[in-house]
Structure formats: structure tokens, C-alpha cells
């Protein structure tokens, strides 16, 4: 019974993270939300393995735990290499524009 409560807490947390990912406002907020949701997914998959009593589902959680952070590095590398565009004006869904200076300090 407790374990179902945990699963629900994880789902609710994922919803909060999703709201943050959609709201932004900065690029880094979204990356943070994606990373957070990745961790929650790992936990959710592990919990589901116990709810269904199928230990082989744990492989999935392990896969996500290992490779989920590659996305964050890809984002860092993406901003490092975009030296031509110093400022990305990002328009979020409410129409407000917030200035964004990507990390282009790159090891030159």
C-alpha cells in the first residue's frame, strides 16, 4: 500500500517538473526540469518493478540511471559551440521575452 503512495508522489512530482519545463523561463530551468524528471522516472520504474513484482524491470531503471545525464552534457556542449549567437532571446509561452546569454566562454 505504501509503495503505491510513493508511486503517486513520484507522478505528482513529475507533473510539477513538467510545469517547470514548460514555463521555463530560462533554458537552464528547462534542462534542470528534464534532469529532475529523469531521476523521478528512474525511481518510478524501480517502484513499478516492485508493484508488479517483476525484478527484471529494474534493468530499465538502471539504463536510465546510467545514461540520463548525457542529455545535460549535450546541452552544455550545444551552448559552448554556438559562439555566433551570443544572445538567444527566448520567448516563453506567456509571450514575455527574457534575455539569455549562452555559455560561450569555451576553452579557446
Amino acid at each position: 500500500m505504501i509503495i503505491q503512495v510513493v508511486a503517486f508522489a513520484l507522478i505528482v512530482t513529475m507533473m510539477l517538473g513538467l510545469v517547470r519545463a514548460i514555463k521555463g523561463p530560462k533554458v537552464y530551468d528547462r534542462v534542470l526540469a528534464v534532469n529532475m524528471m529523469g531521476t523521478k522516472t528512474v525511481l518510478l520504474l524501480a517502484v513499478l518493478a516492485f508493484i508488479d513484482d517483476r525484478p527484471d524491470y529494474l534493468d530499465l531503471a538502471l539504463a536510465y540511471a546510467l545514461i540520463n545525464f548525457i542529455g545535460v552534457f549535450a546541452v552544455l556542449e550545444f551552448f559552448r559551440t554556438r559562439e555566433s549567437q551570443l544572445v538567444i532571446a527566448e520567448t516563453d509561452d506567456t509571450g514575455e521575452a527574457s534575455d539569455e546569454a549562452p555559455g560561450n566562454e569555451g576553452g579557446k
Binding site: 508488479d52 513484482d53 517483476r54 527484471d56 524491470y57
Partner: protein
């Protein structure tokens, strides 16, 4: 309750149509590809939904009792291969977009059409 039996199909329909909308309405070529991959994911979800059996479990014998009901493995086989093929074909599409950007300097459909007409 009808909706409990059918809501999976409705979610499929909505996702499919969001993807279709992205493909038709958006003029940005990357956005079109994203719409296409959404469309694709919706179809994946539909196949897997069809294969689910009430009270079933993943079709892997051994860890569970042999009396278990298994969900249908066939859609899973089809979709498993389709996911990897999907990312490969998306990469192919992206590479075409990259070349279009290099040739036309834009990935917006209307700009590309204008440049074509100007020539």
C-alpha cells in the same frame, strides 16, 4: 464505464493529431520532423495498447509462475525494431534539413519557396 475502456485510444488519437498538426501547420522544417516523430510515437503507443491484456504481465517466462497471463508479444516485437528505425530515419530527415539550411540559409518553408521563385 465506457471511457475507462476507450481512453487509451483517445489519447492515441489526440497525440496522432497533434503530430499531424505539427506536420501541416508548422513551416519550420525541424518542427515538421518533431511533429512526424510525435505521430510515430502515437502509433507506437497504439500498437502497445492493443497488445495489453487485463491482468497480464510482460511476456518473459521464468521469473513468474507459468500460469500467468502474458500480454501480446507480437506488437512489442514490431515496435521495438520500429523505435530504432525511427531514430535512424529521423536522423536522415535532419541531415536533409541541414543541407537545405546550407543551400538556402533558412529552414522556414516560405523563405525557401521565395528563394526558389526568385531564381
Amino acid at each position: 464505464m465506457l471511457w475507462v475502456e476507450l481512453y487509451h485510444y483517445w489519447v492515441f488519437a489526440i497525440l496522432l493529431m497533434i503530430g499531424l498538426f505539427g506536420v501541416i501547420a508548422k513551416r519550420n522544417l525541424v518542427k515538421k520532423l518533431v511533429g512526424l516523430s510525435l505521430f510515430q510515437s502515437a502509433v507506437f503507443l497504439f500498437y502497445i495498447t492493443m497488445g495489453k491484456v487485463d491482468g497480464g504481465t510482460a511476456p518473459i517466462v521464468g521469473m513468474t509462475d507459468s500460469t500467468d497471463v502474458f500480454s501480446n508479444p507480437l506488437p512489442q516485437v514490431l515496435i521495438l525494431t520500429a523505435i530504432v528505425v525511427g531514430i535512424s530515419t529521423t536522423a536522415l530527415g535532419l541531415s536533409i534539413v541541414v543541407r537545405i539550411k546550407e543551400a538556402y540559409g533558412s529552414i522556414e518553408e516560405d523563405v525557401i519557396h521565395e528563394k526558389d521563385r526568385a531564381e
